[in-house]
């Protein structure tokens, strides 16, 4: 039996193509202040702090150590860091709250893709002996997945364009999104993916506050209770995976209790249009489910924060009464290799 833990606050930056004038710490600090102010907590009140980021985006080793300056870790704090999307930092914090060692947690994530070529940077995630030396970039690998899906008859280019259009229409109502409203679907970037099928490249940060038990109700009018959370990984070799399916998402969703009752909302971390089709299938989401009302990663994709933002956006909808039961999903690795699913619920109104 899990301890009741809720997301009680969420904040994010405006996601921008470039943020040359800001260091990571400067980008992050307003978001940290925002979630602390929303809950009335100070750094010293927080039981556990956990963050997600990547040295390969920052271009330097131990890049996360400077972000700690933004937290104000003095007196010293109980703190940890994951070298992946902040959704997994939230998971680590949730585990910490399960032990009873802490009642509140601050989780944050940030990424600046603008200083380098993120398509190329992400090739460094691949098998260093057999795959990385060939530099297959992230768009090319997503295109393989999209083509596999088209070949299987699960979608076509028109469907994919519709996913892109729907996402950016939804983002028109999201002041933080990078692409808002109609965007030309563009030319092929890597066939069959057009520029419109791909996420924007940009910089951004996000933060959430978790609280357990009664503490959640004290900090938030309508806490987004984490009814279940689980994550699973698949094989790394693309050749041994069925790219048209996401068994790790399905298993994580089962373990998180997603199939016990229908959800009204789903925030899916699908940077490429075809990946939304894969995830909808794995999660058995019907047309009655509102998918990515924030615009999703197709509207803003700050790498390392985009997954945490899905959890935050789903929670924020529960906070403001726009959802009662929402699914949030985050992914890591090429072609949806690793996936996290959380089910969030608000108390009955």
């Amino acid at each position: 039996m899990n301890r009741d833990v809720a997301i009680v606050a969420f904040g994010q930056t405006d996601h921008l193509r470039r943020s040359d004038e800001l260091s990571e710490v400067e980008m992050l600090m307003p978001v940290l202040h925002e979630v602390l102010a929303a809950t009335g907590l100070r750094t010293g009140d927080i039981g556990f702090t956990c963050s997600g980021s990547s040295d390969y985006l920052a271009g330097r080793a131990f890049s996360f150590t400077m972000a700690l300056d933004g937290v104000g870790a003095w007196p010293p704090i109980s703190e940890s860091h994951v070298e992946t999307d902040g959704a997994w930092a939230l998971y680590e914090a949730w585990v910490k709250l399960q032990t009873g060692d802490a009642d509140t947690a601050l989780v944050y994530a940030y990424g600046k893709s603008s200083p380098g070529s993120v398509r190329d940077v992400l090739t460094r995630q691949l098998d260093p002996y057999y795959l990385a030396p060939l530099w297959p970039d992230s768009v090319a690998l997503a295109a393989l997945q999209a083509q596999a899906l088209i070949d299987a008859g699960a979608t076509d280019e028109q469907d994919l364009a519709a996913v892109a259009a729907r996402s950016r229409d939804a983002a028109a109502g999201n002041p933080h999104a990078q692409l808002r409203g109609p965007v030309p679907h563009g030319d092929y970037l890597v066939r069959p993916l057009r520029t419109g099928d791909c996420p924007p490249i940009g910089d951004g940060a996000a933060a959430v506050v978790l609280a357990a038990g009664e503490r959640a109700g004290e900090l938030c009018g309508r806490p987004a209770w984490i009814r279940g959370i689980d994550h699973r990984i698949e094989a790394h070799g693309l050749g041994v995976r069925d790219l048209t399916d996401s068994p790790s998402t399905r298993l994580a969703a089962e373990r998180a209790g997603a199939f016990a009752r229908p959800v009204d909302t789903a925030e899916l971390h699908a940077p490429f249009t075809a990946q939304e089709v894969v995830l909808r299938g794995a999660l058995r989401l019907g047309d009655d489910v509102t998918v990515n009302p924030s615009g999703g990663a197709l509207a803003a994709n700050p790498v390392m924060a985009a997954g945490l933002i899905r959890l935050g956006e789903a929670a924020a909808r529960i906070h403001r009464g726009a959802s009662d039961r929402a699914l949030a999903h985050a992914t890591s690795g090429p072609c949806l290799q690793q996936n996290l699913v959380a089910v969030l619920e608000g108390d009955p109104r």
């Binding site: 990547s54 150590t65 300056d69 703190e79 998971y91 032990t99 460094r124 790394h236 070799g237 790790s248």
Partner: protein
Amino acid sequence: MSDAPGKEPVAVVGIGQTKHVAARRDVSIAGLVREAALGALADAELTWAGVDAVVIGKAPDFFEGVMMPELYLADALGAVGKPMLRVHTAGSVGGSTALVAASLVAGRVHGTVLTLAFEKQSESNAMWGLSLPVPFQQPLLAGAGGFFAPHVRAYMRRSGAPEAIGSLVAYKDRRNALKNPCAHLHEHDITLEKVQASPMLWDPIRYSETCPSSDGACAMVLTDRAGAARAPRPPAWLHGGAMRSEPTMFAGKDFVSPRAGKDCAADVYRQAGIADPRREIDAVEMYVPFSWYEPMWLENLGFAAEGEGWQLTESGVTELDGDLPVNMSGGVLSTNPIGASGMIRFAEAALQVRGQAGAHQVPGARKALGHAYGGGSQFFAMWLVGAEPPTG
């Protein structure tokens, strides 16, 4: 915390390490981690099927040139279809990784967790990997030693410790390493004179008072009470574990004895019911990458009063047959696959209370402390393990 159901006791039932060396050219990164993982599973008499989740840690990805290598290592570590979590908290990461794995068991999220940490430093050059270019840092420092040497000098000034203390630590740790078949450096002809005559690298730190660059991995199987009951060998029980962090630099920071280290130790002792660490703890495996950090951490961890840690070293208390043995394995001074180094400390503490440390066993060790630190003396991770299950 009235709604928290109380923690599940956590037991270490399997430990595996590679033989640590300068360069494992015979194995890939996957081969290296698999060797340690299989060792831990064999010790626990488990197969991959008995593992519910994998928690993996390593220091900066630049050290091997692989971004988020856990993605590529999922297959080699039997993680496909399971949760796999990657931790990175700088040099303390091996310790933090074990603590995250322990939380999964303590919080009853999983029953049995494989945790592993590694570094294959021969893939790159760690010293220059740690020397950050402009604009991140002024071009003043070469390697970690350049960062830590001034703080060692500050300790010497503050404590009045004799110049020779550092060499005593190195001489002890390198001799301890001769008893540990997994240790990287096996200097059979080591003498105190040789340590003291070795070249000065970062004054006052000499070559022989500096950690090597190693390839290596360390793995542990952590499990709950039911898993421990099935274990073929005596488990080590977790009595307390904690992490603490503070910023790299700020006005008033005490680099010699950081408050984050003191607070972390105090939290661990509180959990474990330790009132007098010097009397109640039988063996300490601490992160000493440069010899002088032994007396510095002895004070920071509460084993000696401020300014008196060096007296324990000088009087032989920290020798393998001393009253408070420190770094029985040979320590970081003899073996340093950076990302794994914290976990090797934690594993050595567990080996000691399980009575399985071989030639470097402290006879009758019942409680042992494992310690790791990282960054600019700012990230701390510690655990205290015992031969008996925790009470209460």
